[in-house]
């Protein structure tokens, strides 16, 4: 029961004049007089400044003399002075919670004009406070110890300064930086205004101090992923992104040279390139390289055997053909074959498709194999005892044999036919010259794979000689499952291709119909055409499953394509006369003397019978789709004999899967785990293709149609120059191409491709956010032509250009290398602009003047600064402005309306306001003084740390004047430009202040917890858990035993959400109990 009901309260009420702030509008004496009549009020006074010492003394005296036990002060906002008056109560031995403040300034005298009404409102507010205070209860203020460690987020100058200050004070600091090096924007700058000292020269010593400080744990290339807890006791999870280079890196830079990937250097604002293995700049801290790899690119992910196309293209583009081939051979023993016959799903998925056309990847593989010409396959590193039988020497069998052999197994391939290759050997020479395949098979034999030709086998016998068996006998026997298949003139595709291979092709007559859906059907059609027949290819698919090049070639050669057609029956009387087809509801007949069926093959019955394995209803071998295991232990089966029709590369993928399974089987490993990435999958890399210039794909030439009489190869290689141009079209989606050349040169063996992101958990008492800013993107103002005109630069670009460590070694030059004679600098780009950022970015006038000075110092160019208002507010800044004026810089008030490029020169068109005349100034270079903006992910950071942002998106300080580095979340401080645009001196000063704030918190040792916490009455709680999901601080747990919600007082911030949400009224909040609030409201609304 609150004491208020007992009537023992003795209340003192004090009405503050606040000078004239309150007294000018409100009749304070009248309020005091009124108040003295209220029940429980012992004394009511007004005084000029209640917050002054005499004011406080007044209260103390009354407490002592009048025996007050409750106090109400009607003055300003409790945010300002509640603490002051509570202290008065504490000093007099009364619990500070027996105090209430009525705000009659911000909420009354300042906002109302009518003094009479304002006075009435003041009376009501005071009456409400008086009523409420009698219901107040003493509360317990608990204290918890503070963790003395600090987390600093952001390694720019502000983060560096804060970290060093704390570390020097003996505190342990975790400094988290997203980029590979600390330094932030300041590291990019050339000179700093107004003193013109070299930015790097004053920054890098501090950077090394950070790197070397025993109290600082530096976490670069890392991001805070989550944070929980409360002031004094935070727990942060930090993701250390995999830089794929260990701390053993000495920064020797040897790795840069072999890396074939160049990317725009972020540090140099894209004005020069860096390698995929890089450090942003030579003085980077830590001096460890980073490999920027974004994931597996689409070409590689979509490839059934995951050929590293991106890698070999990058190497080929640098003329490193041997290395490119080595990379290919890693996954593929048949490169010259696939360079000719692959249906290249990599090209279908190539990201370049979003710009114009996909890269001609297959042609680039051809370039590599053609250029290298002769090679050996990599053999096993160490021999093993176990031996494996592979039955069938098609693409599946060969790929399986190769992978197993490389692991050291002894491999014997059993081939029923006289020549190995399976379906590969049936490909006509106009697509795959026979000697190419023969060479590839010979290379496999050279690494110790034994191929037994013309050998029929039985599984039982094989298992006696070998520890495991892989069956890949293909599915060459076309089913003749169409009415009329018995007619004369119906030929199986396999027989026809075999007859070609024997050099005695079957007769096809003058017109032939080919039924089939893949490259085999195309081959047959093209061969038939070469025999002088008219060929029609009928496919059920909208487009046959074959490479685009082949579909084009087949049409060039005069084959008629009937796609998306269902064959109904073969027509004829004893002999084939035609094929009845159906498409989209209509039926039609294709005439032909011969019909070749090249679809729906199954394994040959005789071969299958020998093996003695189980079959599926469709006639394929039964095998587990994930492991390819058959029901006979140690026997695996893959390729078309299990799956039905596959492309060559898909069959090879099946073979590789079999090899993996056999390896696991022979070593007693888990057969099922970690097999998700076998076979094609979707790349997760998001590729930005906007703004990429269109460049048409280089198609490889083909033999002129007139010359395609015999079996000469049709697809010709790209000319090397064209091929290299084609390779240059690669968008480099993944960053690092995983070619691993850097690994070959790294002496300290610091490169670790297997490195994965790591999650680190740290516990800290305070957090300092110093996440900085980004600059305005001037593309948003099309009238200034940035991105369109070569010599319109952003401020940061000019910083790099003029920097002696920058891309031009500090020479101010135009894109064409020549020296500018006239340069314009435009102030206020993107700032003071309601369309973009309404605020002044504070630093642009000064850095624009600095640019003017630097241009004058480094070149003889004329400089024009276009400004609206010149803002040079800091120490030494106006003096610098004066100095620049003496250097011949022309200052024009009035920004150009637009920049137009005429004859290669930039024309600034605008109004010289002070001279009242128009200008059309021709210049060589324009520098846009772009303003500062919150980081793109500022909102995410805000949410992560549970702080606030101002409307502009900058992190919000607790008070713009009196608490500029604190936030509304206790224990989280702000430093630098993440709070708003700031120059270096201000950032450093703020960083010091933030560090001092953190130190004050830590050195207090204890932190008082919120007294206004919520409680849940277990006897009322229904266990609905509504409060648990709503609590923003995760302060409510569910007691499974009692089936009720329980508040963790240490985490509760007293926000009241649970109280409002609780459907059973079980949740209450200290100091905001229903009777307290109701008493206040009733008194407020009371008449009179």
């Amino acid at each position: 029961m609150a004491e208020g009901a007992a009537g023992q309260e003795r209340i003192g009420v004090y009405i503050c004049h606040c000078g004239v702030n309150i007294a000018e509008r409100i009749d304070v004496e009248q309020v005091a007089g009124f108040t003295s009549t209220l029940p429980g009020v012992v004394v009511a006074r007004s005084y000029k400044f209640m917050c002054s010492d005499p004011g406080q003394e007044l209260i103390k005296k009354d407490i002592r003399e009048q025996g007050l036990n409750r106090v109400v002060v009607a003055a300003c906002s409790p945010l300002l002075h509640e603490r002051t008056f509570r202290r008065v109560l504490t000093e007099e031995g009364i619990t500070p919670f027996y105090f209430q403040m009525a705000n009659i300034r911000e909420q009354d005298s300042w906002v109302h004009r009518d003094g009479g009404l304002a006075t009435e409102k003041a009376k009501a507010l005071v009456r409400a406070a008086v009523r409420r205070v009698s219901y107040h209860e003493p509360l317990e203020v608990r204290e918890v110890p503070v963790n003395p460690d600090v987390l600093v987020v952001g390694g720019g100058i502000a983060g560096i300064e804060a970290a060093l200050t704390l570390a020097e004070a003996g505190k342990r600091v975790y400094l988290v930086e997203r980029e590979p090096s600390i330094g932030g924007h300041m590291a990019q700058l050339d000179k700093t205004f107004p003193t013109l000292d070299c930015s790097a020269c004053i920054l890098t010593p501090k950077m090394s101090d950070v790197g070397a400080h025993p109290n600082i744990e530096l976490l670069t290339y890392s991001e805070v992923e989550s944070i929980e807890g409360y002031v004094g006791n935070f727990k942060a999870k930090i993701r250390k992104k995999a830089r794929k280079v260990t701390a053993d890196c000495t920064g020797c830079s040897d790795c840069e040279d072999p890396c074939p990937i160049t990317l725009p250097s972020e540090f140099d604002e894209g004005l020069r390139e860096r390698k995929a293995i890089f450090r942003p700049f030579p003085q980077a801290v830590p001096n460890i390289y980073t490999i920027s790899r974004k994931g597996v690119p689409a070409c590689q992910a979509s490839c059934p055997i995951h050929q590293n196309a991106y890698g070999y293209i990058a190497l080929a583009a640098k003329g490193k053909f041997e290395e490119a081939l080595d990379l290919i051979l890693w996954d593929n023993p048949l490169p010259a074959t696939l360079a000719r016959v692959c249906h290249h799903p990599c090209e279908e998925d190539c990201s370049r498709r979003d710009v114009d056309q996909p890269l001609a990847i297959r042609q680039l593989k051809r370039l590599v194999t053609d250029t290298v010409g002769e090679w050996e396959l990599p053999g096993p590193e160490a021999e093993r005892e176990e031996s494996v039988a592979v039955v069938g020497s098609g693409p599946a069998g060969l790929a399986c044999a190769y992978d197993l052999r490389r692991k050291g197994y002894r491999v014997t391939v059993y081939e029923a036919e006289a020549e190995p290759g399976g379906r590969l050997s049936a490909i006509p020479a106009f697509r795959l010259p026979q000697e190419i395949l023969e060479q590839e098979i010979a290379r496999l034999e050279e690494i110790g794979i034994e191929i037994r030709r013309g050998s029929r086998v039985e599984v039982d016998k094989l298992l006696r000689e070998h520890q495991a068996v892989f069956i890949a006998i293909g599915a060459p026997l076309e089913k003749l499952a169409i009415p009329g298949a018995e007619l004369r003139g119906v030929i199986r595709g396999r027989e026809f291709l075999a007859s070609l291979r024997r050099g005695r092709p079957l007769e096809v007559g003058r017109s032939v119909i080919i039924l089939g859906d893949d490259d085999r059907a195309l081959d047959i059609a093209r061969a038939a055409v070469r025999r002088g027949a008219k060929a029609t290819l009928v496919s059920r698919l909208p487009q046959p499953k074959a490479a685009s090049e082949e579909i084009e070639a087949v049409q060039e050669e005069g084959v008629r394509l009937e796609t998306a057609v269902t064959p109904v029956r073969i027509l004829g009387n004893g002999r084939v006369e035609g094929l009845e087809c159906k498409t989209a509801g209509t039926e039609f007949v294709i005439e032909g003397e011969t019909l070749i069926i090249s679809a729906g093959g199954v394994p040959e019955a005789e071969a299958v019978a020998h093996l003695g394995l189980k079959l599926t209803a469709e006639g394929y071998l039964a095998a587990d789709p994930l492991t390819l295991a058959t029901d006979v232990a140690g026997v695996f089966a893959g390729g078309e004999c299990v799956s039905g029709p596959l492309s060559v590369v898909e069959a090879m993928a099946s073979g590789r899967k079999g090899a993996e399974s056999i390896h696991r089987y022979l070593n007693g490993l888990d057969m099922y785990g970690a097999r998700e990435l076998e076979g094609p999958y979707a790349s997760t890399i998001e590729v930005e293709t906007s703004g990429v210039e269109q460049r048409p794909r280089q198609e490889g030439p083909r033999l002129p149609v007139a010359e395609r009489k015999g079996f000469q190869e049709v697809q010709l290689p790209l000319e090397e120059r064209a091929a290299l141009e084609e390779a240059e079209r690669c968008l480099k989606c993944a960053g690092c191409c995983d070619c691993r050349l850097c690994w070959t040169v790294c002496e300290p063996e610091a490169i670790d491709y297997t490195m994965e992101d790591e999650l680190v958990e740290v516990e800290v008492g305070a957090v300092i956010l110093a996440t900085g800013y980004k600059t305005f993107d001037p593309r948003k103002i099309p009238q200034y032509g940035y991105g369109r005109y070569d010599n319109v630069l952003s401020g940061l670009e000019f910083e790099r250009l003029v920097n002696s460590a920058g891309p031009t070694e500090g020479k101010v030059v135009l894109k064409d290398g020549s020296t500018p004679k006239r340069i314009a600098i435009i102030h206020c780009v993107g700032s003071r602009d309601e369309r973009f950022n309404p605020y002044c970015s504070k630093i642009c006038c000064m850095y624009s003047l600095k640019f003017a000075h630097l241009v004058k110092e480094r070149t003889g160019a004329e400089v024009y600064n276009f400004y609206i208002d010149m803002r040079t507010f800091g120490k030494g800044y106006e003096e610098f402005y004066r100095r620049v004026r003496t250097e011949g810089v022309k200052l024009i008030r009035g920004l150009p309306g637009e920049i137009v490029q005429r004859d290669g020169k930039l024309h600034l068109i605008g109004e010289n306001i002070l001279l009242d005349e128009m200008y059309d100034l021709e210049v060589d270079m324009v520098i846009l003084a772009v303003g500062l903006e919150p980081r793109a992910d500022a909102e995410e950071i805000r949410r992560l740390f549970n702080i606030s942002c101002s409307q502009d998106g900058w992190f919000l300080e607790r008070h713009p004047k009196l608490a500029p580095v604190s936030t509304f979340t206790d224990g989280i401080f702000l430093a630098g430009a993440c709070q708003g645009p700031k120059d270096i001196p201000d950032s450093v000063a703020q960083a010091g202040a933030a560090a001092a704030g953190a130190l004050a918190l830590i050195d207090a040792g204890q932190v008082k917890l919120e007294a206004y916490t919520a409680q849940i009455d277990a006897s009322l709680c229904s266990g609905c858990r509504t409060c648990i999901s709503l609590c923003p601080f995760g302060a409510i747990d569910f007691d499974e035993e009692r089936r009720v919600a329980v508040v963790n007082a240490a985490l509760c911030k007293g926000c009241g959400t649970c109280v409002a949400a609780c459907p059973s009224g079980a949740a209450t909040q200290a100091h905001f109990k229903d009777e307290q609030i109701m008493a206040e409201i009733e008194a407020l609304l009371q008449e009179g």
């Binding site: 602009d833 609206i868 009035g894 309306g897 637009e898 068109i909 109004e911």
Partner: protein, 382 residues
């Protein structure tokens, strides 16, 4: 009927953005009229902030073409053309207006067209053509507009459009002599009352027809209908949008044509005022043999012909006509034809070509004319 107070309120509202001006000068920098005369939008804004009557009543006030280039670059979201037309309203109210402006307003009021030609001659251009009076059941109501009805050069555009509509089988009808001025010039010249009257009458007339799709020849009619006629029911299309749609649907069959390098000028009231930049270009790209090149200033940065804002009826004092500046840019682009889609641009550019004696080098055509010239003889099905 709209009350005087209501008109005063509208005029006053158009001043509101003025106070935010901080005199950066970008408006003047980008202003096509400032480029050729003593007109300075920034100075008018400053003058208005400081109540400088001598500046606000100067003849220069009538020079603004309301092209909106300044609006696009203003960092404080000030709308100088609205401020200027409001200033004009004050002068119109007190009768301080140039003779040409007074005449044009009088003509609009009495004869429903700024040229002052007889109402009865409005539909004469269409005599002998297949164009019908609008009636229920026709898909499109074509609001031909004053220029295309009376100005001989623009009548050719209307005729070309009739041919295109026929070719594509588009069912459209017009209002004939019943059509009235859309009021755009009246409003830009500050005669807010006359504009409100026309907007009321035209909205009522157009709504009564029941037409759901209203086609306009002029970007000016298009713009006021779309943005300033709150009571109009039908959806308004500029003809370039319809043409783009016909191209997309494959309803225009083009004949193979000679190689023609063209450049496209974005009319202010189509581009900046209404963001229609790509449709006319899509039409041009669809014409066989036509190669589109861009002028240095295109789309949002297009340079005004000088014809908007009622300027067609204002005596101007300028070093050079803005249309001539634009024609020089077109010449520099390497184009043989300057294509536009606004009757005022067409008139101004043709005069500019003559003044520059560039008749041999550059032809000026409306998009509708170029399309109709290149259509195949036979109609396309559907």
């Amino acid at each position: 009927m709209i009350e005087v107070e209501e008109i005063d309120r509208i005029v006053a509202e158009r001043f509101l953005s003025l106070d935010y001006c901080y005199q950066c000068g970008r408006c003047t920098g980008v202003c096509p009229i400032s480029a050729v005369s003593e007109f300075r939008p920034r100075k008018f804004l400053l003058g208005a902030q400081m109540d400088r009557a001598e500046l606000l009543e100067s003849a220069l006030l009538w020079q603004c073409s309301t092209c909106d280039a300044c609006v696009k670059v203003c960092p404080q979201k000030v709308k100088p053309p609205e401020v200027i037309t409001s200033l004009r309203s004050r002068l119109v109210e007190t009768g301080h207006l140039p003779q040409g402006v007074a005449d044009a307003l009088e003509n609009i009021y009495r004869r429903n067209n700024p040229w002052g030609l007889p109402k009865g001659e409005r539909a004469e251009w269409a005599s002998g053509l297949s164009l019908r009076r609008f009636e229920q059941g026709l898909e499109w109501l074509w609001f031909v507009g004053c220029a295309a009805s009376y100005d001989p050069r623009s009548q050719a555009v209307a005729k070309a459009l009739v041919k295109i509509l026929d070719h594509a089988g588009v069912e459209a009808g017009f209002l004939g002599e019943e059509e009235r001025c859309c009021g755009d010039s009246a409003r830009r010249l500050g005669e807010e009352g006359l504009f409100q009257l026309l907007a009321e009458e035209n909205s009522a007339q157009l709504n009564e027809t029941g037409a759901e799709k209203i086609l306009t020849t002029s970007p000016h009619c298009y713009s006021v209908f779309s943005n300033e006629y709150p009571k109009l029911n039908g959806r308004v299309w500029h003809y370039t949008q319809l043409l783009a749609e016909l191209v997309r649907a494959g309803r225009l069959a083009f004949a193979p044509g000679e190689e023609l390098v063209v450049t496209y000028h974005d009319p202010c009231y189509l581009g900046r005022h209404n963001n229609i930049y790509e449709e006319p270009r899509a039409v041009l790209r669809a014409i066989p043999g036509v190669r589109l090149v861009e002028m240095a200033r295109n789309r949002e940065q297009s340079f005004c012909c000088g014809g908007g804002g009622g300027r067609m009826w204002v005596e101007t004092e300028e070093r050079e006509h803005p249309g001539a500046v634009r024609v020089r840019e077109a010449l520099a682009s390497g184009a043989m034809v300057l294509v536009t889609a606004c009757p005022f641009c067409l008139i101004n550019f043709e005069e500019a070509v003559k003044s520059l004696s560039a008749e041999g080098a550059l032809q000026v055509l409306d998009l509708a004319e170029l399309v109709s010239m290149r259509l195949a003889e036979e109609k396309k099905d559907g």
